[in-house]
Amino acid sequence: MSQALLHVSGVTKRFGGFTALNDVSLQLAPGERLGLIGPNGSGKSTLVNCLSGTLVNDAGSVEFDGHKLDGLPPHKRAYLGLARSFQLPRPFGSMSVRDNMRIPLMYTAAVRAGHQRSEKEIRERTDELLRMVSLSDKADARPVDLTQVDMRKLELARAMAAEPKLLIADEAMAGLSNAEVDDILKLLMTLNSKGISIIMIEHIMKAVMAFSQRLVVLVSGTKIADGVPAEVIRNDDVVRAYLGQ
């Protein structure tokens, strides 16, 4: 247990009288691919926000790579190697695709490496990342001119530019066609093969099942299942939560 990369214990988050997350605990091993599923409003995004520091949890604690994350603002968590993509892509609208990559390169990646890259190195690294997500030919476009799938790729490439140990991909495939879903899935598998742990939050079951080594199910803010995907989806509680409503 001590070598877990991410250690979430008893995280609770309330909004007024509404409990969005209720005593959620989970662990993630280095290099693991975890699928996080649950119906709408089950607290998946709240959990992501509590992990990345956008929201402050009311109780419980999060430990990442040996560091306590509690009370740290999002950018400090990014410096430790925790990256996320947003459910609705949030590109830097006034910048070109290339300059979008600069922000994590100049901030998180620089802090993680302990030094700033030169202009030449930034350019090379950007090219490399854009090639990986096949956005090279759109490097000088502005985000408004990107298609939905390209926007998702930019979102992932920007998260990857931070050179993270853990990537949380929050519904990176929502609204995409089948071929595009496969595209993103392949991309995530490639990242994982480089040793990056990935938590995938997803509604598209086919993708989740293909991707995950382990599956966690949230229902109304409570974790109801955690285990091997094939077993989890046969679990009675899970079936009831998904089909019974």
């Binding site: 603002p73 922000i103 901030y107």
Partner: protein, 356 residues
């Protein structure tokens, strides 16, 4: 061929074609040239009118560092400007009221030309610190709260000044402007003009330096999407505080020589709403995303107002500035320079179009 076209779309991506040192030298050269032209004409009116326009260039540039780069609207430009002006009043009053004390005598012994420069520095420090304090109290909340707080700041500082008899209260205070200045033809007003011209050079260098630096990219990320900026590792609170401090300091510096310029400073003129409006309208008209926008806006609107105040009424000219602000915000939200930048970008994309 395509790579050349693409590189020129985004000049920043290929590094900095003009270094900060070169830019400073160029700006200084232009400033000297500008001064030379005015000095050759030698009209006192040009010094007075030019001073006001230059002062607006500094204010607009300062506002834009926070407003345009970071997207945080400061409605209190007048307050920061007045803080600078009243720093000078405060110090000169100490010199005249306590002329017999050591401090008063020491200040009195400093020649006015040197004293103004010291005031500019002191005003920069004070208003920078106030900016930092305001930011510290309100910037952790949503951006609008910062804006609202700055809006109220003017009212409060004005209340303080009006109630503070030492700096003249509601009556106002005199500062004696010497007529002569030993080194320059044109007297002390020419010296003030040169001083403001140098402040313009400083403001433009700071503004452009930031825009092309890591700090500038961080600011732009905050403006575009603060949550995404945080997630990408931008320490947003710290950067916003840096921006409010620099912006506030520059505004205060612009205000410090003002009492010498006007001779008799009243609270209404130091806290005039036209400063707050112009500081916003000028960058909005010129374009907020680059250092050159506020310069263009301030030169256009500033010169227009200098002309309009004499030819039309001064109230009517303020109305025009207000209407221009509304017009640009609705119709050309990226200002004049932004409009052309977008035009070039669209042209390149549809013309060069091989990329997509």
């Amino acid at each position: 061929m395509t790579s050349v076209a693409k590189a020129s779309i985004e000049p920043r991506a290929k590094g900095d074609p003009v270094g900060n040192g070169v830019f400073a030298a160029l700006t200084l050269a232009v400033a000297v040239l500008f001064y030379a032209v005015i000095a050759v004409i030698g009209s006192e009116y040009l010094y007075f009118a030019g001073y006001v326009v230059l002062q607006f260039v500094v204010l607009a540039t300062a506002w834009n560092i926070l407003g345009g780069y970071c997207g945080y609207v400061n409605f209190g430009s007048a307050a920061f400007f007045a803080m600078g002006a009243y720093t000078t009043i405060c110090i000169t009053t100490i010199a005249s009221e306590y002329a017999k004390s050591a401090v008063g005598a020491a200040i009195g012994a400093v020649p006015p030309g040197v004293l103004v420069v010291l005031m500019v520095v002191l005003a920069g420090i004070i208003s920078g610190l106030v900016g930092l304090g305001m930011g510290y109290l309100t910037l952790r909340l949503r951006g609008v709260f910062f804006s609202i707080a700055t809006l109220a700041l003017s009212v409060v500082l004005q209340t303080l000044v009006v109630n503070w008899d030492f700096v003249g209260g509601s009556r106002g205070a005199y500062v004696i402007r010497p007529n002569e200045f030993p080194l320059l033809p044109g007297g002390f007003i020419a010296y003030l003009f040169v001083l403001m011209l140098l402040l313009v050079v400083v403001a433009l260098c700071v503004s452009r330096g930031i825009e092309r630096s890591r700090l500038g990219f961080g600011f732009a990320a905050i403006r575009d999407d603060e949550m995404a900026a945080e997630a990408a590792g931008v320490p947003t609170l710290r950067l916003k505080l840096i921006a409010t401090t620099i912006s506030g300091a520059l505004m205060g510096m612009a205000g410090a020589p003002f009492p010498y310029y006007i001779g008799y400073l009243q609270p209404q003129s130091a806290f005039g709403l036209e400063y707050a409006v112009n500081a916003i309208a000028m960058p909005m008209v010129g374009g907020t995303q680059s250092w050159i926008g506020p310069l263009v806006g301030a030169v256009l609107l500033g010169s227009f107002q200098q002309w309009a105040t004499v030819t039309i009424s001064s109230v009517l000219n303020l109305l025009i500035v207000g209407l221009l602000l509304i017009f640009f915000v609705i119709v050309a939200p990226n200002g004049i320079t932004g409009f052309f930048r977008d035009l070039i970008y669209r042209r390149r994309r549809s013309g060069g179009g091989s990329g997509s």
